[in-house]
């Protein structure tokens, strides 16, 4: 007999899932049991980022939870089963799959469905659950845009089509148009209203937005009502508009708004709004006190909230009420939005249309740059009511905070959006905000919480993100978070010491600048001019890396030798017993049988332990220091080069077999991997660098876990950056899509040199990005749009590295002087008698301490 209070949730979308997360956070398991119905065959995923599914993101990427999350937390889930009715008397939910589940408390998180306007000729559209099904002849090519299944269907029909049309020019419609464009279709957007995004943006803004969108190649048709869909002459369908014009298209996607899915609540007799929506109060309770509704299906104060963040708020409120832990209430939500649509930044804040009686507005339109900015102020002229920003949204954070916190406007409110007073706009602010002000609206993080994280010891943006989740959603608040961090640290008198070490009062970035600008070629000069003491294990390798990245001299040159860290010093990887492993370069993981045999012969000759690495190369272990030049002599003779496995440098470019062999491959991934590895081999970076190239979106090379990942599309290459595997996995961010090879290489050049220039010592690209103000958008601006005007410089710096490449081992083997460095003893040809190998599974391995003892090798004193 289960005495726990049973909570049943209908709907496993973003909001339904958030509700469960809230319960998990409240440690519900002692008192509650949770069951949820998930009608789709995919568990909750990020619907907001749905369009990235066409840019190479997978279902797994979009998923909102790690695998096994529900199982681990004891949540019962019925996937692919639709809850069909509620028996309120018996408190039982009945499902399409024949389940009858008892509840003590029921939560409806059924979301919404895409609205499809009745159009003649389209025969009839009908809905079964979340999916729209078409009757008649048009199956497969008329779609809605709501779920992953919809996207799969759109993708399938796009492969047989050339023209795509979206009906509906709202926010989702434009997202969808972008998706069609990314699928390589000639794309049209049709809207009944006079301008795009009519809900969020006024007519004048609509004109600017339209111009920008048409610039990108998407054609916009406004004030067009579709009255008939018939068979087309040139394309699959013809849309006939009520003004007598027509448009032909192969694919049609409806994105004409959403409607709350309230049918199950209706059937159960719950109170429903006139235009739909399940009526709730501030506790998210419906007209039945044991039933709650949250998210887009709920109607609060006559209003439906079609954004995810109000839905998250409701989820939190319902969790507080149901568990009687916490006192949040739903009191409306800010519907401000900021997003990038077809490459255009668009933001809308509060009463953007100026519907408040007596309100007045300021606007500024720059047709040259294609920007439009407008603010709406209160009749008294002292409060900000709303704003619209198109083409540039830097002011979003400030304006939204001013509106939400009812801050007093500056004397000349126009200065908030006029371009000449950027400083003034940026300065408004943070200090005057109350602690309750929400800075990150994606995760509801307040200014107070951010301050507390600094109090608790956070000193970088990365640490703030980890502690509070702020700025990990849309990233729109990252500038404000950084400002707040700086302010707080300054206020606390925390002197954050960013010096590299006691010998240099500079950051790595500053040292890089000094070395590059002053043309400093060695450590001695740098120390004499800018440092003190004799250096240490921190600054020496860091400076060695910078010198190599700038001038690319042979790293074992006398003046550089003592700077090199453990592995670089011997051009090999030191293992636990002081012997080394050797990894020759096998670019792209491609190797001829002859070379494979040669490698095997050499390994056999020197009795090395061999293992295949994760980077598609072969690692040879157990080389004694004095053997290294001899082994490399053999390797160089058969054409191998250094693999730089020992350096903070480019390691490998992993690849899948690609279109040359694979049935699914879109492009020649091996060819590209070889080319890229050859291009960047030897490049020294702040930390090691891994790359991969996948030949299709199946992603067999795991490119999204690399610092630079490239995935083939049917149109070119998608470039991902700043991914990481290992200890702290991070999926890479998409930097640019569908690139040709020339642009791809140009962007990688710029990306790498920008990383070399700005990263901290031993900072991988993933944490580097986490700490960049503005995140990946900033990177895009620098790398793609050249916002800092340094692109050419970066490319030039890379060209120098490529031109001056040398195989370090070839140089070393050829120099009798350098070879002397590898002797074990300066005064004897003996070998290290503490290096002992035993055999295991047919190969050598280092002997353990006990084995050494048994073998009679004297054991030295052991320090504890």
């Amino acid at each position: 007999m289960n005495s726990k209070h049973k909570i049943v949730i209908i709907g496993n979308g973003m909001v339904g899932h958030r509700f469960i997360e809230e319960l998990v956070d409240k440690d519900f398991r002692d008192n509650f049991s949770i069951t949820t119905f998930c009608e789709e065959k995919n568990l909750a995923y990020d619907r907001v980022s749905l369009s990235t599914y066409f840019n190479g993101k997978t279902k797994e990427d979009l998923s909102l939870m790690p695998e096994g999350y529900y199982e681990e937390n004891g949540v019962e889930i019925f996937i692919g089963d639709k809850a069909e009715s509620i028996d309120r008397k018996a408190k039982v939910v009945k499902s399409a799959g024949g389940r009858e589940v008892h509840y003590d408390t029921l939560v409806l998180a059924t979301g919404s469905y895409p609205f499809v306007p009745p159009i003649q000729g389209q025969k009839q559209y009908y809905f079964e659950g979340y999916r729209a099904f078409e009757c008649g002849d048009h199956k497969q090519h008329i779609h809605v845009y709501r779920t992953i299944d919809d996207l799969d269907a759109i993708k399938a029909s796009a492969s047989k089509s050339e023209i795509g049309t979206v009906i509906g020019g709202g926010l989702l419609g434009l997202e969808c148009a972008n998706a069609l464009k990314n699928l390589g279709l000639k794309t049209h957007v049709v809207d009944r209203g006079p301008s795009l995004m009519g809900v969020q943006i006024d007519a004048e803004g609509g004109i600017v937005l339209r111009a920008k969108i048409e610039e990108s190649g998407v054609q916009v048709h406004t004030s067009k009502s579709t009255k008939l869909i018939s068979s087309g002459k040139e394309a699959r369908y013809q849309l006939q508009f009520d003004d007598g014009t027509y448009l032909e298209t192969d694919i049609l996607v409806f994105s004409s708004g959403i409607r709350p899915r309230d049918e199950i609540a209706r059937k159960a007799g719950l109170k429903i709004g006139d235009k739909g929506g399940i009526v709730i109060d501030s506790e998210c309770r419906t007209s039945d006190e044991d039933i709650f509704a949250i998210g887009e299906c709920a109607l609060w104060n006559g209003q439906i909230f079609g954004l995810v963040s109000p839905g998250y708020k409701m989820a939190g409120v319902a969790a507080d009420i149901i568990t009687a832990q916490g006192d949040r209430r739903f009191e409306g939500a800010d519907m401000s939005t900021k997003l990038k649509l077809i490459g255009v930044d668009v933001a809308s804040i509060g009463d953007s249309h100026g519907r408040t009686e007596g309100s007045r507005s300021f606007s500024f339109r720059d047709e040259l740059k294609g920007t439009y900015k407008k603010i709406v102020i209160s009749p008294e002229g002292n409060r900000l009511l709303g704003a619209i920003l198109i083409g540039g949204v830097e002011e979003y954070g400030t304006l939204q905070q001013m509106m939400l916190n009812e801050m007093t406007l500056p004397k000349d409110p126009g200065s908030l959006i006029l371009p000449t007073t950027e400083e003034a706009a940026a300065g408004v602010g943070l200090d005057t905000l109350p602690e309750a002000a929400i800075i990150c609206s994606c995760h509801n993080v307040t200014k107070g919480e951010l301050m507390k994280s600094v109090q608790d010891g956070a000193t970088t943006i990365g640490e703030i993100k980890t502690a509070t989740c702020a700025s990990t959603g849309c990233g729109g608040c990252s500038t404000m978070c950084k400002q707040l961090l700086d302010n707080e640290l300054a206020k606390r008198g925390v002197d954050v010491n960013t010096d590299l070490c006691e010998h240099f009062p500079y950051t790595r970035q500053e040292l890089y600048g000094l070395i590059r600008v002053k043309g400093i070629r060695n450590f001695e000069t740098l120390l004499a001019e800018h440092g003190h003491g004799a250096g240490c294990e921190i600054c020496k390798p860091a400076v060695a890396s910078i010198l190599a990245a700038c001038w690319n001299e042979y790293i074992l040159k006398d003046e550089h030798y003592g700077l090199q860290d453990t592995n670089d010093r011997m051009l090999a990887n030191m293992q636990k017993d002081g012997t080394y492993s050797i990894v020759p370069r096998v670019a792209g993981g491609e190797i001829t049988p002859e070379k494979l045999i040669a490698l095997g012969e050499i390994a056999k000759k020197w009795n090395l332990y061999t293992k295949i690495t994760g980077g598609q190369r072969i690692d040879l272990f157990g080389a004694r220091q004095e053997q290294l030049p001899l082994i490399w002599e053999d390797l160089v003779a058969v054409g191998f080069e250094s693999g730089h496995a020992y350096g903070k440098a480019l390691r490998t470019v992993k690849s899948c077999v690609g279109s040359t062999w694979c049935r699914y491959g879109q492009q020649d991934s091996v060819g590209l991997a070889v080319e890229i590895e050859t291009r960047y081999k030897g490049l020294r970076t702040p930390h090691k660098l891994k790359m991969a190239v996948s030949g299709c979106t199946r992603e067999c090379a795991e490119a999204q876990g690399k610092d630079v990942g490239i995935i083939a599309t049917d149109l070119g290459w998608n470039l991902y950056v700043c991914g990481n595997g290992g200890m702290k996995p991070r999926h890479a961010d998409l930097l640019a899509a569908d690139l040709n090879k020339e642009s791809l290489i140009k962007y990688i050049d710029r990306f790498l040199m920008y990383y070399v220039r700005t990263a901290d010592r031993l900072q991988r690209t993933a944490p580097w990005l986490e700490n960049i103000e503005g995140g990946v958008e900033h990177l895009k601006a620098v790398i793609i749009e050249d916002s800092l005007g340094i692109a050419e410089q970066l490319e030039g710096e890379m060209a120098h590295i490529i031109d001056t490449y040398q195989c370090e081992w070839k140089t070393t083997v050829a120099s009798p002087e350098k070879r002397k460095r590898f002797r074990m003893f300066v005064n004897s040809d003996e070998t290290d008698n503490n290096v002992i190998f035993v055999e295991e599974r047919g190969q050598i391995r280092p002997a353990t301490d006990d084995e050494k003892f048994e073998l009679g090798v004297s054991r030295k004193e052991v320090f504890e």
């Binding site: 003893f825 005064n827 030295k860 004193e861």
Partner: protein, 117 residues
Amino acid sequence: MKKVAETTYNKICAMNDIPHNAGVCALVDGKQIALFRIGDKNELYAISNYDPFSKANVISRGIVGTMGEIPKVVSPIYKQQFNLTNGQCIDNPKVSIPTYPIREQGGAIYVSAIENC
């Protein structure tokens, strides 16, 4: 520092055989001793090559530098720091490694295998 009889010194190598601001390893009476040559004045240090933390003979391959005024070498394996003048481990006061007498004469390096006290 204990006085060392002249006869216990062994001639090891030329001074230039020790790379500047780095080290080499010498085998002296069966003992592995790391030799370092540091700075403008070619200060010389001799310290055990055995790293007690990794139990491997690797100290000669460590990076040398200073901490304040203290000259140090950093083990290349797990990065513990040792004071070059007395062998004291800077990260763990309970651990120290032997140092040895070293001197230069006529461009040659001489080392004794009898530990400093």
